[in-house]
Amino acid sequence: MKNKVIITTVIITTLLFSSTPIVANPGGNGDNDRDFTCGGSCHGDPSLSVDSDGIISIEIKEFVYAGTTTEIVVKIDEVTTSNERIVGIFLLGSINGNNDQPADYGWEIIQDENGGTSNYIEKRASINGSVHASWIIRSPTNPGTYNLFASIQHGIDPNPKGLAALGVSEKHEIEILPIPENYPSLSEDWIIPEYREIDGDGTITILTENTDNIEVNWKLSGELNSNIAEIQEIGIGEWRVFLPKTIGDSKIEFQITIFNGNFSVEQPWMEIGTENERFEGSSIGARLQALSYAIIIFGFVLSMQSWLVSTDFSDYFSKVRSKSHESENNDSQRMIFHEKYPGWLWDSVEEKWVPDIVESEIRSED
């Protein structure tokens, strides 16, 4: 009976300690396509959430031609976050709780703020509580009035109850107008690649419609002056654009201007990086490699120690000792004392008389 109680206690204790000591997702949940339910269902419960103090605003043109590309900017200001300062930002077509991604209403995300194509992204707010995010989106092909919302979720500090802060913008109405005939635009089939391959020549291919020419300006992020990229037409509405490769996390910004006769349409600024060198590590690989290093080092040290203990180094040390004795003897043989000249020594190497310092010191002490 006593053993059973002990075993049960050990099992319960082990289970308690094996549970992950983390609440919600304080380090963020990663960019992805998410419905408002992600922020609304769990955290929508008043006992699990509080209202965000952030001021959310949306900037987009009041009307957009159907099937064309435009930019939407979501600005969040004066938001109080946790120490991590991570803010999750949603771009939504509705706030019903399901099917509220922009794609559900005909919008297509070409690029999000972090270089992907997600409607939910995470960014760090500045110290003064501001965070901006932009999406390059292709409008629905059917004309009409469409709605867009922005929503945010983030931690707060102090947060003793582990609550999430939620905020939703006002409804933003956009008028989608029928596209004029021969209106130059980016092809519906084209989405900007997230990265260029590291082994490639750095070019990207752009697909357009109703276009007889394009122009591409590029600049490094943060630069004011832009440069004109070299362009090669490789087919009808198919263009190869030469953009310089980037290194590491740096990205290049570029803007496409599409021409049809004298008519031109300037697209929003987009960005692209170069793929980092492929890293083929895995979680289990890292753990196994670390364990193998620990065991190999332990075994190596034990082997070395056994070898050191079994090897006799006494010969080596005796040689070192005898060498030092030899040098001492050599020193004593070099200086020759002569009775006729007390206080002086004859240096047999330099062949000259030098004062006998030791004898001088003895005399001075006397």
Partner: protein, 199 residues
Amino acid sequence: MVGAATFHAAMVEIVIGSLTLSTICTICCIQRSFKIPLEKFQFTKKTLDTMDKAALVGAILGVLMMPGAILTGDLASVGTPEDNILLYNKFLYSGLALGFWSAYVFCRLRFGQELWENRVLSIFQILMALAAFTMTASVASIGGKLVRGESLFDILPFWIPLDQTIVISPGISMFLILIGAISIISNLRSQKMPLKTND
């Protein structure tokens, strides 16, 4: 509720503190084998005995807390070793540090204080402590890089390649584990050699 990151910070502080003390005391213990010429820095035998014990206790505490620090660090980390070279290196350096410090503790317990009477072994023990501390400091430096984007290693005049790593396949890792385990067992089963002291 206290998160894994808080536990990790506390455990790392204990590990780094105790292992730093252990390293300093180990270096001082060289005086048991070699007389240093500067009389001012010569410790008495009693002080050296105390330093030896402090080094051992510090190392034992560090070795005991290190798995906890690794585990909480794993739980608290935002990314995974799959997409982050720094995190991957943190695992590897943790393994190296754990291996060196475990060997340090084992060797000291195996031979006792007599270890310091043998010049070769005492030099070996000190070199082991220095290697182990370098690995430990590297792990801590990677932690700083991950959380704050900078570490004290940045101001060192030499460069430690923390942003590069060597990836070996899990199969080879398991083979290395097997080789290491055989090496350890064969060493432990071999007869204990009599320790030769300076005299």
